[in-house]
């Protein structure tokens, strides 16, 4: 009986020892991870948060309650970074252009992978089937599935900052030379793969497959690039956002 009571009080004690500065620090770190905020902006926002908390506490809220209410009133990280990005465009655009460059690299890498998978797959398929009839559709299907699959997977992982793609992007920003070498090696590797698979397919078959694949890639790019550009350009002056 006594043991359980002691546990209860220990839990209460941990709850009330509310490390204010740590929480505020975490909140600020979360914002700082976006390129939209300058150091001065963060200082202004933190000052505001603290003023807001002080006012709430004089009204009778606990430190913890004041923190959550003040934080909520300030706005979500998404809303804030959206509006601040419009005024801090000088810092945000190089970041965006880097992302566009990375996007371009990804499209290229996805294309290469799709090409390689398609050619190898078609070659193996041909060996298995001993007939050339279905090679066209098979090749096209492999290209589409791989290309779309890689892009969708990459896009999915950008949704969270801990995803594979954002972490890779951070690494690429810090190691530009290694990134260049990496891209070159992938390109070389892909070239070798293509050469090997071409050996497994007869020339006339290979010649008919290639244009179809190019058209598929070009159609996808025709859709992807304008959509991405339009989304990036849909920016205007900042306005007061209310829920």
């Amino acid at each position: 009986m006594a043991g359980r009571e002691r546990n209860f009080f220990k839990i209460m004690e941990n709850e009330t020892v509310f490390n204010l500065n740590e929480r505020i620090g975490e909140w600020r770190e979360g914002l700082a991870s976006s390129a939209a905020f300058k150091a001065d902006d963060l200082e202004q926002l933190e000052g505001h948060l603290r003023d807001s908390m002080a006012a709430l506490q004089t009204k009778g809220l606990s430190a913890r309650e004041a923190f959550w209410v003040a934080r909520d009133r300030l706005g979500t990280a998404g809303e804030l970074s959206g509006e601040f990005a419009k005024v801090n465009a000088g810092a945000v655009w190089p970041d965006r252009i880097l992302w566009m460059l990375i996007g371009y690299l990804w499209l290229g890498a996805a294309k290469m992978l799709a090409n390689a998978v398609s050619l190898m797959g078609t070659a193996m398929f041909r060996l298995a089937l001993k007939g050339d009839g279905l090679l066209g559709p098979v090749s096209l299907a492999l290209v589409l599935i791989t290309f779309v699959g890689v892009l969708w997977g990459a896009w999915r992982s950008t949704k969270s900052p801990k995803g594979a793609v954002p972490r890779l992007v951070e690494w690429m920003k810090r190691h530009p030379v290694l990134t260049g070498l990496g891209v070159f090696s992938i390109s070389m590797g892909n070239f070798l793969l293509v050469v090997l698979s071409v050996k497994a397919l007869p020339e006339p078959v290979f010649i008919t497959l290639v244009p179809w694949r190019s058209i598929t890639f070009d159609i996808c790019s025709l859709i992807i690039y304008p959509v991405a550009l339009g989304w990036l350009l849909a920016r205007s002056k900042p306005k007061m956002v209310v829920e």
């Binding site: 706005g75 509006e83 005024v87 900042p238 956002v241």
Partner: protein
């Protein structure tokens, strides 16, 4: 609650008007507007700062960091001459709209 569009449209004129009576900083500005509007105009607080930055870029207001008693820094804003001109023109526009509504709704206009 006042519509999003009205809140957005009135933000700049409200800031200009409050600063007309003297320099002020972000948090106090928001409190002032909330009190004056009797709680009907409630801004998402963090959103005010990008608007203030934009107004500063447009040359309507200027800012200065000042140290508060707590040792923390606060950015104070005040109106520039272009800001006073902008305020005048906003005043004329809003009063014109107000006068029109007063005639239609047969209410007394607030003319000062």
């Amino acid at each position: 609650m006042i519509s999003k569009e009205l809140v957005a449209a009135s933000t700049v004129p409200l800031v200009l008007s409050v600063l007309a009576s003297g320099e002020n900083y972000g948090y106090a500005l928001i409190q002032e507007v909330r009190e004056l509007s009797e709680g009907r105009i409630v801004w998402t607080e963090g959103m005010l700062y990008p608007v203030l930055h934009w107004m500063e870029e447009e040359g309507l207001i200027e800012s200065e960091w000042k140290e508060a008693e707590s040792g923390r820094r606060r950015k104070y804003y005040r109106l520039r001459r272009e800001g006073r001109k902008a305020l005048e023109s906003e005043r004329r526009e809003w009063l014109a709209v107000n006068a029109t509504f007063s005639k239609l709704w047969k209410t007394k206009p607030f003319l000062t």
